[in-house]
């Protein structure tokens, strides 16, 4: 079941939560709504579920307009951020709830609930109460409960937000596999870009109630549409320089930039990710920037080097491989030369 969101606007008093948002969720895809808090992603999810009503615009399931349908009639599975499990019901009754209110036969309910508990690896815990479960277990009960009504679409609000790092990592992989298994159109909300890129096969980046960019994860990561997306998708170094004749310049550093071939110099912001910077002990012509090593953090799969550009007095984050770090034998206070392998140039009117 595909979902189409058309020109949705939603205001809460004077606050515009969603501003003319349009979105396409292809059938069977797993889509992430990614954005900082207050970007409107949860509101959009609730509107798709029918838990909130938009001020204008429409929501289509396949080709049917469901904007005015209540949440009850939409048959959408919703997993709440804090799970919202029924605290006075056992795990079994929680999962059975959607089928009980639909007056389905008891035998069918028992069969299906046990099947689902097995699917979320909670078989044997049916008689426990939510308060007796760990965070990860509650999360899976919430998921089983949402799946019990055989929804057309599965919506998850910050599904891993309240879990600790290790459980979160485990559940991410598990959700990804589950999605492949049941192949249901799913949308989840997250503020964690790593999570979005790891789990989803489509990513929609939102900010201030608008969609900044939508696309496949690698596409969005490699070709961010604007400085916000670039900035939000992870650590980034920003240089303020100028472009002229297809070259971007910052002091002694020069990078090819064929998208801007004009004659006159224009101020621009140059964005470079930490792993796209190289460190050398000697200058290699005009392409590099002199800097001093301030601090090195060799823990983890990449070595993080913090530099201070000596001519400009601004900090730089660089990530190099541990092998390269050993090879360079960097020490605090060393003078090095930094050159970018790749830059992204944004005209300053887009700079936030």
């Amino acid at each position: 079941m595909s979902i189409t969101v058309k020109n949705i606007t939603k205001r809460f008093g004077s606050f515009t939560a969603l501003d003319d948002v349009s979105l396409e969720v292809p059938n069977g895809s797993l889509l992430a709504l990614l954005g900082p808090s207050g970007s409107g992603k949860t509101t959009l999810l609730r509107i798709i579920a029918g838990l909130d009503v938009p001020d204008s615009g429409s929501v289509l399931c396949q080709d049917e307009d469901v904007t005015r349908q209540s949440a009850r009639d939409r048959n959408v599975g919703f997993v709440f951020q804090h799970y919202a499990l029924f605290r006075h019901m056992s795990v079994f009754e929680n999962v059975a709830f959607g089928m009980r209110v639909r007056k389905q036969p008891k035998k069918l309910i028992a069969e299906r609930v046990n099947e689902l508990l097995q699917l979320v690896r909670l078989d044997g815990l049916g008689r426990r109460y939510p308060a007796q479960l760990s965070g990860g277990q509650r999360q899976r009960v919430a998921l089983a409960r949402a799946l019990a009504i055989q929804p057309k679409v599965l919506l998850l609000d910050e599904p891993f937000g309240a879990l600790d790092a290790k459980v979160r990592q485990e559940l991410r992989g598990w959700l990804r596999r589950l999605h492949h298994e049941i192949n249901m159109t799913s949308v989840f909300v997250t503020h964690d870009q790593e999570e979005a890129f790891e789990v989803a096969d489509r990513v929609v980046v939102m900010n201030h109630g608008r969609v900044e960019q939508a696309g496949a994860p690698d596409e969005v990561f490699e070709h961010p549409a604007n400085p916000f997306v670039m900035d939000f998708l992870g650590n980034v170094n920003v240089f303020h320089g100028r472009v002229q004749n297809g070259r971007a310049m910052l002091g002694t550093m020069e990078v090819a930039c064929p998208e801007y071939p004009h004659q006159e110099a224009r101020p621009v912001a140059l964005y470079v990710r930490p792993h796209e910077l190289d460190i050398e002990h000697s200058a290699n012509g005009s392409g590099s920037l002199k800097a001093r090593v301030e601090r090195v953090n060799p823990a983890g799969s990449v070595t993080k080097v913090f530099l201070l550009a000596t001519d400009f007095e601004f900090g730089l984050n660089v990530e190099i491989s541990p092998e390269r770090y050993v090879e360079l034998a960097l020490k605090t206070g060393d003078t090095v030369y930094v050159s970018p392998r790749k830059v992204r140039v944004f005209m300053p009117e887009y700079v936030i």
């Binding site: 499990l85 029924f86 308060a131 965070g135 019990a148």
Partner: protein, 303 residues
């Protein structure tokens, strides 16, 4: 984690040590004052009520309660009025608590304040307000008389007055409970396909049941014991509009102490039962609230 659990018991041992450093005179003195006050003001009078009631023996006690048709009528009247107040309170209380805990609307703060009005107004004034509205000289009096309806000096008046003074009980109990529990479970029920009624009966009611019962118990106790407001609207017609508290007063005025204390003992017994149920329910509501706080808190432990 291990270091944290290690620290707590140490602190726990320190705290009572500080408290026990108060001089013995202060500790015993305060305890004595408290025990004396409760003894003189509460225990002795309550015991005396039962002592006086049973002074003439069990047979006389029974005769005093059931033998006098007017007293019997007052008991039955109270048993008719109190349930009406409880039901009215239940409906209003749930509706008001729902509105206040779940919705934002203009006048919400005013409604919250107005719910408490019956507690702050003197019951006599409450009774008087009803007389001024529905009495013969009141606004609706002539119209009601023309249609053959009597409210003041009749059972409907007693019910209205009792409803008025007990109005806040259920709402006041439910508002904090519903606010603490939040609306997430209800939203979840709707998203799972429940109708409004299914959501209310299957999710809301089980979550608020102890608070609800607690409110009902308190409301019932007050409805049975109400004197002031009922006194004004009843007109004190023996055998027709006398409720139990009014009957106690009347028997006492007639110097019929054994009968008066017999009815009073019945009211006191009801109060004691209420107190007992209240303690049990308070314990349960507190546990429910603590549980709701625990289940909405972030559980970080691994699956």
């Amino acid at each position: 984690m291990a270091s944290v659990t290690h620290i707590i018991p140490v602190q726990g041992r320190v705290a009572p040590a500080i408290a026990s450093r108060d001089p013995a005179v202060v500790r015993w003195g305060l305890t004595l004052v408290a025990i004396l006050t409760i003894g003189v003001l509460i225990v002795v009078p309550v015991v005396n009520v039962f002592y006086q009631a049973f002074a003439g023996g069990l047979v006389a006690y029974w005769e005093n309660l059931v033998g006098d048709p007017d007293t019997l009528h007052s008991i039955l009247l109270t048993l008719a009025v109190a349930p009406v107040a409880v039901v009215a309170n239940l409906i209003f209380g749930v509706a008001a608590a729902w509105a206040i805990a779940r919705f934002q609307f203009p006048g919400r703060a005013l409604l919250t304040a107005l719910i408490d009005l019956p507690f702050s107004v003197s019951p006599v004034v409450a009774g008087l307000m009803l007389v001024l509205l529905f009495g013969m000289q009141g606004y609706f009096g002539p119209w009601l008389r023309d249609h053959g309806v009597q409210i003041i000096f009749a059972t409907p008046g007693l019910m209205l007055a009792t409803c008025f003074v007990t109005l806040p009980f259920v709402a006041r109990e439910l508002i904090p409970v519903m606010e603490a529990i939040g609306s997430e479970e209800e939203t979840a029920a709707i998203s799972l396909g429940a109708s409004g009624w299914q959501m209310f009966l299957r999710v809301t009611v089980p979550n608020i049941k102890w608070g609800l019962l607690y409110g009902i118990i308190l409301c019932n106790a007050r409805a049975i014991g109400e004197f002031g407001a009922v006194y004004v609207v009843s007109g004190h017609v023996t055998g027709r509009t006398d409720t139990m508290p009014l009957r106690v007063e009347k028997l006492f005025q007639e110097y019929n102490n054994p009968a008066s204390f017999a009815v009073a003992s019945l009211l006191t017994l009801l109060a004691l039962v209420t107190l007992l149920v209240k303690v049990v329910l308070e314990h349960k509501t507190r546990r429910d609230l603590a549980e709701s706080a625990r289940s909405t808190s972030i559980a970080g432990d691994a699956s």
